[in-house]
Point group: D3
Chain length 334, copies 6
Amino acid sequence: MEKGCKNAVENAIRVVCLGETMLMFAPPRYELIERCDQFTAYSGGSESNVAIGLERLGIHAGWIGKLPGNALGRKVVNGIRAFGVDTSACIWTEHGRVGIFFVEWGAHPRPLKTIYDRAGSAASTLEAGDLDWDYIGRAEWLHLSGITPALSETCRQSTVQIAARARAAGCKLAFDLNYRSLLWPPDEARRALGRILPYANLLIATEMDAMMLLAQKVDQDRSSQREKNLETLFNTFSPDAAILTCGADGSVAYDGEQMVRARGYDLQVVNRLGAGDAFDAGLLYGYLTSGLQAGLDYGMAMATLKMTIPQNTPLIDRTDVERLLAGQGLDIVR
Amino acid sequence: MEKGCKNAVENAIRVVCLGETMLMFAPPRYELIERCDQFTAYSGGSESNVAIGLERLGIHAGWIGKLPGNALGRKVVNGIRAFGVDTSACIWTEHGRVGIFFVEWGAHPRPLKTIYDRAGSAASTLEAGDLDWDYIGRAEWLHLSGITPALSETCRQSTVQIAARARAAGCKLAFDLNYRSLLWPPDEARRALGRILPYANLLIATEMDAMMLLAQKVDQDRSSQREKNLETLFNTFSPDAAILTCGADGSVAYDGEQMVRARGYDLQVVNRLGAGDAFDAGLLYGYLTSGLQAGLDYGMAMATLKMTIPQNTPLIDRTDVERLLAGQGLDIVR
Amino acid sequence: MEKGCKNAVENAIRVVCLGETMLMFAPPRYELIERCDQFTAYSGGSESNVAIGLERLGIHAGWIGKLPGNALGRKVVNGIRAFGVDTSACIWTEHGRVGIFFVEWGAHPRPLKTIYDRAGSAASTLEAGDLDWDYIGRAEWLHLSGITPALSETCRQSTVQIAARARAAGCKLAFDLNYRSLLWPPDEARRALGRILPYANLLIATEMDAMMLLAQKVDQDRSSQREKNLETLFNTFSPDAAILTCGADGSVAYDGEQMVRARGYDLQVVNRLGAGDAFDAGLLYGYLTSGLQAGLDYGMAMATLKMTIPQNTPLIDRTDVERLLAGQGLDIVR
Amino acid sequence: MEKGCKNAVENAIRVVCLGETMLMFAPPRYELIERCDQFTAYSGGSESNVAIGLERLGIHAGWIGKLPGNALGRKVVNGIRAFGVDTSACIWTEHGRVGIFFVEWGAHPRPLKTIYDRAGSAASTLEAGDLDWDYIGRAEWLHLSGITPALSETCRQSTVQIAARARAAGCKLAFDLNYRSLLWPPDEARRALGRILPYANLLIATEMDAMMLLAQKVDQDRSSQREKNLETLFNTFSPDAAILTCGADGSVAYDGEQMVRARGYDLQVVNRLGAGDAFDAGLLYGYLTSGLQAGLDYGMAMATLKMTIPQNTPLIDRTDVERLLAGQGLDIVR
Amino acid sequence: MEKGCKNAVENAIRVVCLGETMLMFAPPRYELIERCDQFTAYSGGSESNVAIGLERLGIHAGWIGKLPGNALGRKVVNGIRAFGVDTSACIWTEHGRVGIFFVEWGAHPRPLKTIYDRAGSAASTLEAGDLDWDYIGRAEWLHLSGITPALSETCRQSTVQIAARARAAGCKLAFDLNYRSLLWPPDEARRALGRILPYANLLIATEMDAMMLLAQKVDQDRSSQREKNLETLFNTFSPDAAILTCGADGSVAYDGEQMVRARGYDLQVVNRLGAGDAFDAGLLYGYLTSGLQAGLDYGMAMATLKMTIPQNTPLIDRTDVERLLAGQGLDIVR
Amino acid sequence: MEKGCKNAVENAIRVVCLGETMLMFAPPRYELIERCDQFTAYSGGSESNVAIGLERLGIHAGWIGKLPGNALGRKVVNGIRAFGVDTSACIWTEHGRVGIFFVEWGAHPRPLKTIYDRAGSAASTLEAGDLDWDYIGRAEWLHLSGITPALSETCRQSTVQIAARARAAGCKLAFDLNYRSLLWPPDEARRALGRILPYANLLIATEMDAMMLLAQKVDQDRSSQREKNLETLFNTFSPDAAILTCGADGSVAYDGEQMVRARGYDLQVVNRLGAGDAFDAGLLYGYLTSGLQAGLDYGMAMATLKMTIPQNTPLIDRTDVERLLAGQGLDIVR
């Protein structure tokens, strides 16, 4: 029996992930939005990706979003609970739409392009009072990302309240910066995040997002600044640990005592979207079960395997994660 | 040489069609929006359908819409000018989105379902001042539909102004009621249309829409009321002619002197959407070239053939229209 | 908000459905297994179909099957829990395969054909001791079908024990005969079913299966025998009610006091497979919420709508069911 | 074991079919050549269809065509020998192209349309001297059609020579008129066919083609003339039997002594192309094994089942033919 | 607003491109023509590709071809005017076919393979007298390629006449050698091109084609000969400038005074076909707006981006061209 | 005329290949079995691949398998005889199923994964007495692989008997080790193969399989052991020649007198499955026509080209093989 099947028997929700899941429409690999008439619908939600990743690793997770009660809303929920995530605390509404975005995959040097069409989504109306706080209170962790406060003024307020209230209810908070430049400018982001981050137990950022938060210019030789920036982050917001992801260079974490590192892997990129979410899932799994080093290790393996998968969601086979961590390189199994 | 190729050599734009063209996304025949991940993008615009239908019959037409300057906007325009329609007077903007809607085809008794997602479209910000009035003034006819005033308060004002200004510039006006109950209630529609219809030279309505406009209850035996309603329409708004389409029962027109009729045809329905637009194109072609009877005849043939085509646009072969009008029934040509 | 979204907020499992779910592979409509290389995978399980149908109508259901712990087993479970069905009591094993079958859709007079390849499936090794009896005991109803005892000698024994033990635990039993002539001969079926049916509270059979059970010859004029057969069934096995489904002729039920009937509907058949399962879901929903007449009514509406859907599972919109029951015939909603 | 598998063990070639097989390109059902970019390649050859039909019924057949030695030529041959037909006598050449044609399926009243692009094909250069006469001489029957003499002046001569030489070598000749109005006018056809038909042992024609050959006007009430025309055909060309196919009305044959008839069947039409070829295969099978009545019976059953299949080739399951002839109407087998 | 939308408002045709556009049929990436039945239709025309490329960069262009008046001919024209190119001067005829070719993409070391099937195309009958010389005379530039004189003896004569007459009418001439070894041998090509090239203002050649024209052997170390060959070309035919494209090595141009160079770019090749045409479009755009250096720069950027696109036509986003020229390397925009 | 077409005229079967051919089902490139519903069916049989490879090179081959007489069995046979392989000696049975397996392609470092579902296949019941020994006796060579004795105890016995009886009938034996670790453990394999290999004239093994057979540990520096192992193999089983394939490192053979080597090629991998079978076909072709060096050369070229093809079968164009052997590197032919 493969390990990926074990999760079916665990019942308590340990991590609740909260945020908007959109529908993403993309033409086939290399094709142009302008020219192609065949679009594939994907699930596009950072926090639900984390929840699915946790399920794949055997940790039962819940996802909370706010959706209109129509076929598109049901489509979003079906795509998440199919992988075992509990969606019973979702908020259904008669107002607002399902946010959508279009992706054109590109081919170097033609970039992957995104057209967001998410204004007015039901998710952008989420308020702290919409939530089932008993449900959240029963979990050990709440996972949020920096996309939520960027959605609307309402969401900016809600996110602070949700973070505060969850901590008050005994939940720990994992927070991924996930800066989206098309949604808000750096100074607005800094202001809003500055009110949320003090509640975070785990603070996760890409190197670029960390520099945005610290209002730094991007430097040629950024590797030298990594650990300094990481320490600054840690000292500014005082989480239990701060984590910096550095793409192919791996990742590094600091918990006030030691710097922990994990390496990147060679891989064939199929779809980069969702790699950060897969990292978060691996990080939480490792951290919850074996500590920070395991967190980084599982995070890097999950992010790597995610990029070999066409979907944005980390539909990863746990056996593959462990084979990768054990350094076993098999190309064919038969 | 098939007749459908002749249009390539004609240059003057005789009819300008103005209105919103959206992108329509639909899963394959019978499939569910909620379950299926493969969507096909279609051009979805009543007035641009009319323009394409006119080109197929050999009348050069222009289409005017308002679109955001991105890949989705270009996609809309490409899909229209591919068939010879002039789109050089289109209005490009940096604000607003491309309106979209989702269609699930259904299978009796499961109905075809529509999810509109068109709020905030660039088209809903159209003002009369956006338009190139020299361009419109050079045409013989302007074609509008009752969808445009339903899009927004701005559009409601614009449509009246556009109708008035076009007539003042020497253009004749063809107007199809095209009532969309999901966009506005009957009384609002009646009020707004009441200000536009006096400018119409040709007034086209389905039987149901006419009853809405006349604030009538839908009766079991509506065929008896048809001609009475048509006369009322004619007398109320004084067009050159009023036309009622009655589905499989055919159509009937009144020009103050005589009642003209055309019959329906047996057919295999592939896609009903756009049948009314195809009728309008046939009506205009017939009316401009040979008078009202020819208008109804070509309108019915175009509507019939449109329903055998998977697209919403009337990509009809003129040879097929004439074969149908001549009563030739061939099932295979080889 | 459409009604189909309400189910997300209900938590207690009222009905547990138990049986094998296979993967079905079929080429596109009309294509031949022998000639076509593109196969679509479908979920193929009578009892899980019933569970999904119940979820669509707002009754929380669980499904129990026995599956090998590999990607194919996970595929089966994902396809069921995507629609809200609880699968946490599923049994995972290291032995046995996922049963598969191939379907070729046909076109009249070329019949739909099935190639079963289900021997040695994990499901065929199911024993009563494998089950989580606490889980079953918390439900109001258990749903079984006559396919399970046909799978293997082991299953023949298990089914009797499961029926008995569920009743003892306070569960009511719904049982659909679902006779599969390719799996066992009539006399074997009669012998085995004779030991199970006495436990049934609801006994559901097609007209043909009832005649098999009663060892009758199929007669030309079978409608005259319907009610007599139904009474015989009822009197032989003493359920709370016995139900006979008669295809396009509708259905009829008997509870010892009265004969209840529901009519069939005109429809466009897209896929007949799973119509009986959809009926069972509608029957249970109606019966649990409003009694036997409602059961038949919802059963017929669900079966009708199911046949308009490409999947075997009743992915029906509850709004469509109620529109059909209310006699509203809309072909397009826009 | 299904009967369709038995043919694999028979070795002697009883019927040789000779003629051009083209590649046919068609967009999906209902789509337009002008609008759609996805084309499916089909095997398009009347005589190779007959050969495949014979293999399906258990009679080993050979096919002879003339093809350029490139990937398209190999594609044609692969598509024929896949079903057991012997293609070892095919003629490969360095000159000429593979004939192609485009089909647009249509939907009533929009007709199925054909664009032939077969000029200059390798097949149009076939000469009697190209053939392996030992190979042909070992067969019992040669099957030709009226398409071959229509391909080119060369082919017109070759066909007469081939017919004569085959008869001289002891082969019987089956000839299907298969008149193609897009390839040659009636008077040319009459002249050329007049030189070939005297060699035919079996002469097969549609009712329409027979009227063309007899230079008759198409009459409203043609059923009254059927038998008279059939007799005229028989008396003019003196075959062993003449056969008239009358679409849904069935078919009728005359052997100088008696009129034999077979009825048509209700069916769902998937693809009409190749129905006549399927008839020929059934006719030859029945005639060779049990006489003229069996010929018509198998011919009608094969033609009916062919029309339920997406390909032009009669990929029919022999079990289905016999079930149909036995009057067994099953819609689902499971 | 993206820059690619601006072209819609420009009206005067500055460049007319003339040549054959065929339909290209190709199976999916890696698949074999011989084995695969799914073909995608592409637009295949060097000169129409240039016209589309010019439109993408904001220069209004016209395309002239000669086509049969059927669905395939319309398909060709639709595929070109969809992107804004004016096709009103196209020549429609009742004779000849649409040229087609088949492409199998290959995978190293299995080469991309082409099967031409273009003999007898309508385009091969083009005569100078067919053209609308007023239309051509209104343009600043005419673009021709060396494919046209290779099509037929008629075309060989026509091309010289067209070049001469266009220059006499005040048009400048851009000419791309585009040598096709499958259409004619080098000595024939040299003879015919020798009569055309003296009319060229811009003469464009790949390094290999230039060596063919100069009757040189291909040398191992060809980079040393580049500039010498370029000078020879320039001195022999006296254009305003001669341009040599050298694949990944970039391109070089000579105008009698200076050697101008542009570098190549790293890229992921999706489809190499049409890269030269994209270069020509970029060259013309740059040359017309800013001179020879800009011509080479835009040419290289356009050729590079073209190869990342599945179509043969340069459906390039002008923003991408300018980002590439500015050295901005973004892989994801979100 | 391309060389690949010549094989159609050769009639005598020189090589008979015997073994199981399964149906393989795989989702598209990169997709997951668990997530994707679209599966493509491939022919999956090592020995039939060899037969097809021989046909592509011009050597007529036969294939013998044992299959159930249903649509799946016919599908297997059609897929083999389409390429000219003689399948007339196939064994049809009413018992057993067609073996199937599922493949998920993977993307580095996510491995290609296989789920075998072949237990109980008709092929696993093959006995020596099932075979047509006249048919085998007329061939020069019999090709077997180490998969057959791994299928069942019956097959383990049959393979020894078949090898012995073929040699006794005058056939030479080519045997490819083809060790499948999912089917049997090394010691069982060694025991069984030890009884078969003494009959082999050509013994082919991958480096890894040879080490398994020789019960060696896999060493870091295995290249040093290659020739020693090869000699050991040769000396142990005394074939005419023993051949070791070493992936990208090429291959090496020993015939008791000399070591012969062939190099590998750079390539773009599309599908690795079947590369060994393609090697065997090339080896046999080269060995039969020109000796051992030609065998290795053709083997490496065939294996290389196979990996550029999506199918498992070596549908290779002989022209490509010879171009590769001649060192001609063309990327585009037009």
